[in-house]
Symmetry: C2
Subunit: 340 residues, 2 copies
DNA sequence: CTGTTAGCGCCTTCAT
DNA sequence: ATGAAGGCGCTAACAG
């Protein structure tokens, strides 16, 4: 079997407490003894059992991360960045993939992270009951999605401003029939689609453009959904000359639909996305860039800070990250139209 | 504080042992008492402490998953699928993002998973010393990348066959100057690029095409690398009329480079990728499809099987998953050439 | 600076 | 079918 703390203590001729103190860099051990213990431990290949030390100390040195879809670029990127920050600080990451309603429900009723994590980073937006469940864990909480909520440190972007810059860009190019592909079919507590929609409506109103409900379609935040949504929009009696997609993945789906319909981008239809997906540049997509990895890293850092100093108040409101419109090749003025 | 097993025992008027047995579905508890205990536990919001039960039983119900880059589509997708299988079986996933040499080294020297996991799924290829370190954990091991290695259950694809189908496709279209973008710059124990290269060379030889070293470039498995590599190939005295990229991400980089050089795909240059990335279809990329999520799920299942029945021998050799060439729009016969 | 004494919360014999 | 005792490996007071 693997060596225990007592094996090390015996081999080093000291007590287990001293080994514990020495190995964790706590004061109260002479340098000589400390280095001696370190040598013995290394030689025996000793690593403290996390279970045992968690049980005794109450600290787990692990962070629970809740994700809706690990395979999706946005979440994978946030997770990647957050994990790096956590592991650099000596914390392990327990991953929970809660994409399906069933998995999600089981997670929140059984709450397997109870007594298992020192903090939770949620990349999904908990509803009120779920938030309460998380708060009942009594550990620091953070999220990189959705709006402010009690008990959570939230890192995010200004969805309104991002959307406005995208839609304004289309308006400025001269478009009047501007469609939107949203991702509204998810759970209601997911406010991002709503904020983006409101911003879209506001810009249209501002520009004196009447809103046409036939120019909105749901793309479910997936490539396939985006393709379906674009196909729907094209079937309208007066199809849009430009489309704002609430995510790059949906925008790419839209591009595919347009190509299948033999429509040219941007000559026939302009497309703007949201996120600046790693492949947006490959397809030349104009989009609203947000610092995805940075949001994960920042949320992780804020959580660690609260762990280091439990008295420090978590940042109030939302920590806002910068966004910017990246102009590429999928947007242009509308085709000149005949007399109307 | 949260309820402990003794709180439940007291509230139910039984002993802690009985609560333990009842909640874990072990025999020796009358149905009546069992359901009574379940009710009390639910009412108290009791969940057993994982640390305590691991310590007492030696089982952790946790799987360690090692990943080089969570944000990369391939790994994110494998991880996503594996996590679903594990969590459905009641296991938690501890994620280790070992992209940098430094992180990786620290992981294998400190081995933080020791005494913390019941099994390990590695999505990176451990070298001999690293494999030995993992074996020393004394738990089942599996991987979805690289070749067969002692002590590991390996799920993968036939890289040779996949590459052959891609390169043969180009040969059959009439191409003679076929370039390759590889991902060879990684660590040496990463055999995939080598296998694919050998298969590429074999197909050329078979077709009586002389190999031109100027037609090979390293794309580092990234979009940017693929773009650089393609740019390099185009600078050759006699550039290729077709290119096989060892991954879709590099192929997409190549497409971007070609677009920047105002070359038409497939008219001027044909491109084939490898993976069938979720966005390959969006850009119309011809590619070798492999069941990525399925590989993660299958590896997870095989691990669980070994956990259920420790006596069962792990599958010998490699569990091979099917591949197939997906024809899309980036490949065509070469332009007819003048007399030569 | 170092050792001793108690648990942390649960599971596992062994009794009954 | 149930309860009592012991211990998993470590950390946290408390003594010296």
């Amino acid at each position: 079997m693997t060596a225990s703390i007592n094996d090390v203590a015996r081999a080093a001729g000291v007590s287990a407490s001293t080994v514990s103190r020495a190995l964790r860099g706590r004061p109260g051990v002479s340098d000589e003894v400390r280095s001696q213990i370190a040598a013995v431990a290394a030689q025996l290949g000793y690593t403290a059992s996390r279970s045992a030390s968690s049980l005794a100390s109450g600290r787990t040195y692990t962070i629970g991360v809740l994700v809706p879809y690990v395979g999706r670029w946005f979440f994978g990127t946030v997770l990647d960045a957050a994990e790096k920050v956590f592991s650099a600080a000596g914390y392990d990451v327990l991953l929970y993939n809660l994409g399906s309603a069933e998995t999600r429900k089981r997670f929140f009723t059984r709450l397997p992270v109870r007594k298992r994590v020192d903090a939770v980073l949620s990349l999904l937006i908990p509803d009120d009951a779920e938030s309460a469940a998380l708060r009942s864990l009594g550990v620091p909480l953070a999220t990189t999605v959705g709006g402010t909520r009690p008990g959570f440190t939230v890192v995010g972007i200004d969805d309104r401003a991002g959307t406005e810059s995208a839609v304004r860009h289309l308006v400025n190019l001269g478009h009047r029939r501007i469609g939107m592909i949203s991702g509204a079919s998810g759970p209601l507590h997911w406010t991002t689609p709503i904020e983006r929609r409101n911003a879209y409506l506001d810009v249209l109103a501002d520009a004196g453009i009447e809103h046409d409900p036939a120019l909105e379609a749901d793309g479910d935040y997936t490539v396939e959904g985006g393709e379906r949504a674009m196909t729907e929009l094209l079937a309208a009696s007066r199809p849009p000359t430009a489309v704002f997609a609430q995510s790059d993945e949906m925008a790419m789906g839209a591009l595919r639909a347009l190509r299948r319909h033999r429509l040219k981008v941007p000559e026939d239809v302009s497309v703007v996305g949201f996120d600046d997906h790693e492949l947006a540049d490959v397809v030349g997509l104009t989009t609203v860039a947000q610092p995805v990895a940075e949001q994960g890293a920042e949320a992780a850092r804020l959580l660690l800070r609260q762990l280091d100093d439990p008295d420090a108040a978590p940042p109030a409101g939302q920590v806002q990250m910068p966004i910017r419109l990246v102009l590429r090749e999928t947007t242009a003025p509308p085709r000149p139209r005949g007399p109307q």
